[in-house]
């Protein structure tokens, strides 16, 4: 049986996979470690230069931790575990202008 002429076309979106929803979370641990390593190293070099060991090192580690936590928060605030297997949301309608 043919569908009526005024029937809306069915757009079959591909369901979002586990990797696409949770995959970016693979970044969290590395970003945390890398940011602490970089800021810790900068603090260590600053300590060597100004002879204030270990104050800048500790400051650097905390700054790295702050960057890592901020990045984690940015990922987690958009996390929706129920999105796995659900179709991706339709794209926003284009402005006629």
């Amino acid at each position: 049986m043919n569908p009526p002429d005024d029937a809306q076309p069915v757009i079959r979106e591909k369901p979002r996979s586990l990797a696409n929803v949770w995959g970016p979370l693979a970044s969290i641990g590395t970003v945390m470690a890398v940011s602490m390593a970089i800021f810790g190293y900068l603090g260590y070099r600053l300590d060597k230069w100004s002879d204030t060991y270990p104050y800048w090192l500790i400051m650097g580690l905390f700054a790295g931790l702050l960057v890592g936590f901020y990045d984690t928060w940015k990922w987690v605030r958009h996390l929706d575990p129920g999105a796995i297997g659900r179709p991706a949301p339709p794209p926003a309608p284009k402005d006629p202008e």
Binding site: S17, A19, P24, V34, I38, L66, V67, Y70
Partner: protein, 266 residues
Amino acid sequence: MITNGSADVVLEVDDAVQSVILHHTADTPFDPGSVMSHLVPPFLTHHGAMVVLSALVLLALMWFSVRRRPAAPVPTGLANLAEVFVLFIRDHVAIPNLGEEDGRRFTPLFCTFFSFILIMNLLGLVPCFMVATSNVNVTGGLATITLGFMVFGAMIRHGVTGFFSNFAPRGVPWPILLILVPLEMVGLLIRAFALTIRLFANELAGHLVLFSLLGLILVYGLRALPVIPLALFVYLLEVGVALIQAYVFTLLSAVFIGQAYAPEHG
């Protein structure tokens, strides 16, 4: 080798194992032999040679995949396999993160990332070859391409002013912005650096574990034979890691570039 029980001999074997592991993982100048050595540039190292070899293998594979066969209009064999990879990257990596238009435009870049990293990782598992992605310069070069798109691509898309204004989320009070803007700027660089370190560390660690396990045979002789199945297991694990790391690098590149192109989603 350690039958006489001497501590000095054990130490010598330990040093030998250590040098073998370093020889197989550290980058050294590439010298193919007396005849061929005049043909290779002096700055070429083993990892550099593996990058070139991987590129040549990838070019050969792609040439065999895309060459036209009038008798078979439907792709078969290698072309069919390449199509599976390309469609997977386009439909599950590029388009979900960059949208339909940009996703299709960026698909060649992500396909290149995925296949190039995969070939480098897999060639590194072939005996007598080295894994180029265990060199931080190689992974850093790849991540620099991603960073270039995150910075200059976004500048071209949003303009220089628009690019920098994206560091300041809307509706945030200015005292908080004093903290947030530097965090956003640093976060951009840290993400690219994390891409570098993730691939480099995973590949290097896998090969170090593999060589360390096999090195136990040199130190303990026949008593260490049970490590062979374990080393085989780690080797198979490395095949999986090669695939997963190529995919993770490609996926995260797509996510980062997508966030730079559409910061309201990031």
